[in-house]
Amino acid sequence: MDDHRAVRTLYSGSSDLFNMNEATIEDTIPKDRPLIAPLAPMGVLRAEYENGNQVFVQQIDWLVNNGYKGIRRTRGDGDCFYRSLAFAYVERIMNSEDVDLNVMRAISTLEATPQMLLEVGFQELVFEDFLDIFKDLITRIVQPEPGRSRLTGRVLFDTFNNAEESNSIVMYLRLLTSAQIRLAPEDFAPFLFHPEIGEPMETVSFCENFVEAVGKEADHVQMTALTRALKINVNVAYLDGHARSDGVVTVDFVKFDNATEPEEPISLLYRPGHYDILDSKDQEDLTSLDPLW
């Protein structure tokens, strides 16, 4: 949790900039955006900032020069962190070299989680369907169900744009995040603040209001808890419109390193109030037909 304070200070003292960025994001992220969009070159995002804050433009260029050539955007519905993370998590397993091993690791991690949810008092009937949808999707990478195709980029994309399946996975991650926070209150309690009024909050109240509730945006605490529960590494690039004091423009990454074995992190892009997925590729082929096994 060391970098929590660092993140807070990153935004304080520049509310105008924050508001400006908020306004830009509201303009550019319409509510009818798909839950998950196809991969697009960073130039698309850059074009939206060209007439605005030039530091944003330079930060986008910095990301491209450092290998982040593509962006996969998500709907700005408050679930975007969980949805981005879930999509990138499954996609990375699907595209990994040792698919069998990584599917097995993910499934065994997920199969240990219901115990956490039960321990903090969630009823099985509340979460079992959500977990089944998530596990089935990952299992389909190696083992298609009878009559259904193996998981491909296209199937993954369609699944995450199907509101029922997509929101079920988001909900499971919310409940898992909540369970992780409730199970380690001593780790999280000092960081539980009301996101609007900044007052300290009790663990249960924080979880009910800002973790379990649909559409409530994730902040550092939720991200720490979820990466810990899933045992993954996530890097979040903060596009904040700030140049360093010496005028040099870079992008700060906040790293959540909770993988138990060495692995490449999932990369997300944060602009105040919204998360998208970063990618080293700038396009994908979604036209391919599902190969039936």
């Binding site: 009937l125 509340v126 509101a163 929101n167 988001v170 909900m171 209001n209 509730a213 559409g215």
Partner: protein, 168 residues
């Protein structure tokens, strides 16, 4: 209809019928599992005591990732209930989570009855009386309690009579 939604509603019903929380009841309409009738009994030691308030819950296939819409059929006098019976309750709006089932929704509404939130008034008059004139607030609530015992036709007639009375 989505399988998840149906399965969840069936389990909500099982829970509500085998382990019912005190003072609430509910069940799906015989020909439509997406439409539920419910009754909340006014909590003891509150002005709502002895009332049998009827509600209707409408689910769509996004349940349980989205909340149902909930509406009182009985006429209510309460700071957080609109004239059309819709209510202002955080868990049904911006604080929804699938951890709430039908039983939890109904008990939350029941506790809202004796613990109104005057900061988000849906009925300004009720909110004002609740704050400033408890005696009159109680009198107005008691009138809705008595109405709640009547069957819906009689209630409808009383509403009409009431409106005529106001007009003359």
């Amino acid at each position: 209809m989505s399988t998840n939604c149906r399965r969840r509603l069936i389990r909500d019903f099982k829970r509500l019928s085998t382990d019912p929380p005190g003072g609430v009841s509910g069940s799906p309409c015989p020909d439509n599992i997406m439409l539920w009738n419910a009754v909340i009994f006014g909590p003891a030691d509150t002005p709502f005591e002895d009332g049998t308030f009827k509600l209707i819950l409408t689910f769509d296939e996004s349940y349980p990732t989205k909340p149902p819409t909930v509406k009182f059929l009985s006429r209510m006098f309460h700071p957080n209930v609109y004239a059309n019976g819709e209510l202002c309750l955080d868990i049904l709006q911006n604080r929804w989570s699938p951890t709430y089932d039908v039983a939890a929704i109904l008990t939350s509404i029941q506790s809202l009855l004796h613990d109104p939130n005057p900061n988000s008034p849906a009925n300004a008059e009720a909110a004002q009386l609740y704050r400033e004139n408890m005696k009159e607030y109680v009198r107005r609530v008691r009138a809705t309690v008595e109405e709640s015992w009547l069957d819906p036709d009689e209630q409808e007639k009383m509403k009409e009579d009431g409106e005529d009375g106001n007009a003359s």
